[in-house]
Amino acid sequence: MSSADIYRELILDYYRNPRNFGKLEKFDIDSRDTNPLCGDEIEMQIRVGDGKKIEEIKFTGKGCAISQASASMLTELAKGKQLDWVKEVAKEDVFKLLGDPELGPSRVKCALLGMKVLKTGVYGYLGAHYDDPEASDPMT
């Protein structure tokens, strides 16, 4: 896959016009992380509604098109879902949102930063610990 394919119209659009970008005034979950290997950062805030639903979700961040677009797409997907749903999200889901690009190992970490932030925040709220399989392994 060539870079022209990776950087499709859609991803550039999410990069330049991220949906759900910003901060919440009231929130129950606030999660932030950076990718130490490249400096990308993502912060997500979530307001939890009745029945442990993701009532409102917003993100802010700095980073590459892939990290920002994937975080933005993920917030769209997450909105309205049960918190427990977050546990089921897999990296394949994120790749699908991005159009299944062919990414080298370091760019995979960009793609998955948003998911990591989302999971860390939600797991923490649910009183669990999210042990990120990608964190210490730059090769996955």
Binding site: S3, Y7, L12, L37, C38, G39, D40, K62, G63, G104
Partner: protein
């Protein structure tokens, strides 16, 4: 090109086996030299020769292999020391610049820095010339202060003079910024620091590989650099230190080789520089670094520098024509090392690097281990093209085409 070139790049390129490789079907255009350089065949051969012919542990050895390995290791120390104008006995071989600054932090800092002291570094430093001092300062209750930058990416010398009034214990500064390329007048900085009573540390990671360096005329107390950035192997570097200062210091690591005698309750230390080389040292790679120094010396560091000045000049001129190209740091090639950091409109450096990689071009992208500087530049990340002896004007042209392609994809 009409001008006579200082280097015969085509001939030099033939010495580097990796440059024959292709990336994504394209010729490798390696522009990530500030991160690490490629290695000429003679350096690779030195390693092979060592392991195939006279590999042995050193110093404590009487047999022939041991004598040969010791001679080669110490000869390498001599070459590296001479390369930067230091006496061999004042040159400690270690992993690289980061280990060197941490050695100073532990072996000098623990004894010499006290609560209320001031340590001075600058906003343009690599993390390896910030974090050790930050850890030291926070442990001791000292203050770490930063010399700021002028708009053009040079040090604010007025602010530096102000900070010297606080009689800092330490002044740690880079000879050449790995992001901006700024070459600092470290001789002047060290003279002023010495007058103010400060011990001086110069980070030579980006200078020793690219220009003639003489630590004696700089007049610093410590000078640190990395072998892998100067055509040498990974895992080896050096700290040149004033001999009396090294002698007055505590050892760093405890273990074999650095001791004279070990008793149950205390030990006595070996002479400098062995006092700082505990355990089995990186023998092969030290010898490899010696070969790299031979290679660079044969070319001549004046010529290496002149070559890079011309490349930078050509690159700044050429890339300025690319829409959205925005370089950082000094624009006068004579005041700048062989490094150009930049951004291309709002294309994030990682995305740019991915697109360039497809064209066979290797650049660095990210924070370049200089987050305080990135904050000062007010960017999250930057791209960086950096040069060495095997880079040509043609490489710059390929880079230009790559940037234009990225611009087209991102509709800059």
């Amino acid at each position: 090109m009409l001008k006579t070139e200082p280097l015969d790049v085509q001939r030099i390129r033939a010495d580097f086996p990796i440059l024959r490789r292709e990336v994504h079907g394209k010729r490798l255009v390696y522009l990530d030299n500030a991160a690490t350089t490629q290695k000429p065949q003679v350096v690779i051969d030195a390693l092979v020769d060592y392991y195939s012919r006279y590999n042995s542990n050193i110093h404590r050895s009487v047999h022939t292999l041991g004598e040969e390995a010791t001679a080669a290791y110490e000869a390498a120390r001599g070459k590296v020391a001479k390369f930067v104008g230091a006496p061999a006995k004042g040159l400690v071989l270690l992993r690289g610049t980061t280990e060197a600054t941490n050695l100073i932090r532990f072996a000098w800092g623990e004894e010499n820095v006290r609560k209320g002291d001031t340590l001075v570094t600058t906003l343009m430093e690599h993390h390896s010339n910030i974090v050790p001092w930050q850890l030291l300062a926070n442990k001791k209750g000292a203050a770490l202060k930063f010399v700021g930058l002028n708009k053009d990416g040079t040090l604010d010398m007025g602010q530096y003079e102000e900070l010297l009034k606080e009689s800092p214990k330490l002044v740690a500064v880079t000879h050449c910024s790995n992001v901006l390329g700024t070459i600092n007048d470290v001789a002047q900085i060290c003279t002023k620091a010495r007058r103010a009573g400060a011990t001086t540390v110069v980070d030579g990671a980006q200078s020793v590989p690219h220009m003639p360096v003489n630590v004696e005329s700089i007049g610093c107390d410590f000078y640190a650099f990395s072998g892998h950035k100067m055509l040498g192997p990974t895992g080896i570097g050096a700290l040149a230190g004033k001999k009396e200062l090294l002698e007055s210091m505590e050892p760093f690591h405890g273990g074999g080789e650095m001791i004279k005698e070990v008793f149950l309750d205390h030990s006595t230390w070996n002479d400098v520089p062995y006092k700082f080389e505990a355990g089995t040292v990186n023998i092969a790679d030290a010898i490899g670094l010696g070969a790299a120094v031979d290679y660079l010396s044969a070319i001549g560091m004046d010529k290496v520098r002149e070559h890079e000045v011309r490349l930078i000049e050509y690159a700044l001129e050429t890339l300025a024509k690319v829409k959205g190209f925005h370089p950082y740091g000094p624009t006068d090639p004579r005041k700048k090392g062989g490094v150009i950091s930049f951004n291309l409109a709002d294309v994030h450096p990682h995305d740019l690097a991915t697109i360039l990689d497809e064209e066979g071009i290797a650049i660095r992208s990210g924070h370049h281990c200089a987050q305080p500087l990135m904050r000062w530049l007010d960017v999250a990340a930057a791209s960086r093209a950096s040069f060495h002896v095997y880079n040509s004007y043609d490489d710059v042209d390929v880079l230009k085409a790559g940037l234009e392609k990225a611009g087209a994809i991102f509709k800059v």
